[in-house]
């Protein structure tokens, strides 16, 4: 048997494996109307068909429910969609099915309806309420950033983010169209495991269609349940992407995102500068106070010196006064004693006796007049040198 690629005989299974491998390369975006949706509750897959609206051509579609959930499109008969899919032959029955990876709505109108419907649903759940919004950390340091590495957004962000020692964990992701959902979800999940202070999701402006990924329910819920505050910078003209409505803070440009992250640090730098000025000025005041105190002290040296001299003088004056006063007082006392002595001397009756006077007593009493004595009384006369006794007749 010849081993020729064209003539090699292989089994049905082997042939289908080979065929399916080749068919995987035939991935395409196919537009059609949805028919015959079979969701099979409890199973991990679903079936539906898409039909060409012009000639009725139909293809059966297989889709994993995981991908279906990410697509976020509620399938119903007659709905026009674009599926991203590749063909595959189902080996047990040889049937050709489209393996659908993504379903997207077609047309602004349909997108608008889906947008409004989801918005209302999430609003009712309270996902957009102000109470849910968390404050951004005061001084964010580790920042998770999700956006496309190509494009102006990341450049604008990096140009405007301040030099405050930010640690940026960047995860590249598609941000355009519905295709971006898987990338974005994967990026969010990657950063969910990282130790970051804030998550930033950015993309530039665009049409409602180009924003489809940012209106995806799975992505919205992933952002809503993110463990740290989420800051979005998603530009838009009319309808705000739902991811930006569920985030904790939204601005429309990457420059604004950078400014928000910079703001507290700028304030801190300003505060530090102000404090520095204040401290320096306080020190200047303190130095001035010391200078003045020193001047006063130096001036007071002279005053203290004179005060000491004055005190010495005062003590000397007191000493002199005290001595003078007391000496004077003693002299006065002595003089008084002398004068008193003289006076006493002058008044001494004994002194009169020497001049011829005498003191006459009768029975011890001094006789001052004639009636003080009777005839026969004995009289005692004291003279300067003794006594004379006599009798009255």
């Amino acid at each position: 048997m010849e081993k020729n690629a064209n003539t090699e005989i292989i089994s049905v299974s082997e042939y289908l494996d080979k065929l399916n491998l080749n068919l995987k390369g035939q991935k395409a975006k196919i537009i059609g109307e949805v028919t015959g949706v079979q969701e099979y509750p409890g199973r991990s897959y679903l079936y539906f068909s898409i039909k060409d609206s012009k000639d009725g051509s139909t293809m059966k579609c297989f889709m994993w429910k995981r991908d279906f959930a990410i697509s976020g499109v509620a399938l119903r008969d007659g709905l026009e969609v674009v599926v991203t899919a590749f063909p595959s032959v189902y080996k047990p029955n040889g049937g050709l099915t489209l393996q659908v990876e993504l379903v997207e709505l077609v047309g602004e109108g349909a997108l608008q309806i889906a947008y409004e419907k989801l918005k209302k649903k999430l609003e009712l759940e309270g996902l957009f309420s102000a109470e849910r919004k968390r404050n951004l950390p005061e001084y964010p340091h580790k920042i998770g950033v999700i956006t496309s590495k190509s494009g102006a957004v990341i450049n604008d962000f990096l140009t405007n983010i301040g030099k405050f020692g930010f640690e940026i964990l960047f995860v590249d992701s598609k941000v355009e169209g519905q295709d971006a959902v898987k990338d974005l979800l994967s990026a969010v999940e990657t950063l969910r495991k990282e130790d970051i202070d804030v998550l930033v999701i950015m993309r530039g402006g665009g049409s409602l269609e180009s924003f489809q990924a940012f209106n995806n329910e799975v992505l919205i819920r992933a952002v809503a349940s993110f463990p740290v505050p989420v800051l979005t910078g998603i530009g838009h003209d009319k309808d705000a992407p739902l991811v930006s409505m569920v985030s904790d803070k939204n601005v429309s440009t990457p420059t604004a995102v950078a400014n928000i992250l910079n703001s507290s640090w700028n304030d801190a730098v300003h505060k530090v500068n102000m404090s520095e000025e204040k401290i320096l000025s306080q020190f200047e005041k303190l130095f001035e106070t010391f200078r003045r105190a020193e001047d006063t002290l130096l001036r007071s040296v002279d005053r203290i010196e004179s005060s000491i001299v004055r005190s010495y003088d005062t003590v000397s004056v007191y000493a002199k006064d005290l001595l003078a006063n007391f000496s004077g007082a003693l002299e006065n006392t002595e003089e008084w004693l002398v004068q008193s002595g003289k006076l006493l001397e002058l008044s001494n009756p004994i002194r009169q006796l020497s001049q011829g006077y005498s003191i006459v007593r009768s029975k011890g009493k001094v006789i001052r007049c004639v009636k003080d004595v009777k005839v026969g009384d004995i009289l005692e006369m004291t003279v300067s040198d003794g006594q004379i006794k006599t009798k009255t007749i």
């Binding site: 002290l297 130096l298 040296v301 203290i304 010196e305 000491i308 005190s311 010495y312 005062t314 003590v315 007191y318 000493a319 006064d321 005290l322 001595l323 006063n325 007391f326 007082a329 003693l330 006065n332 006392t333």
Partner: protein
Amino acid sequence: MKKQNEKTNKVNLNETLKKLAGIVSWFEDQTELDVEKGLEYVKEGAQLIKSSRERLSEIENEFKEIKKSIL
């Protein structure tokens, strides 16, 4: 404790000078001097003058040291 005692035992110049002034003025006010009392005051005054001079001398020395350190 010792320092505190030293401090409390220190003569207060102002108070001493006030007492001296009081004694001098007592003498000046007397028309008839009580010599006994006057003697007591003279003794007290002499003691106050002695301690004032000693304290002044201490103050002067202390001040000279301070002056050296700031000029």
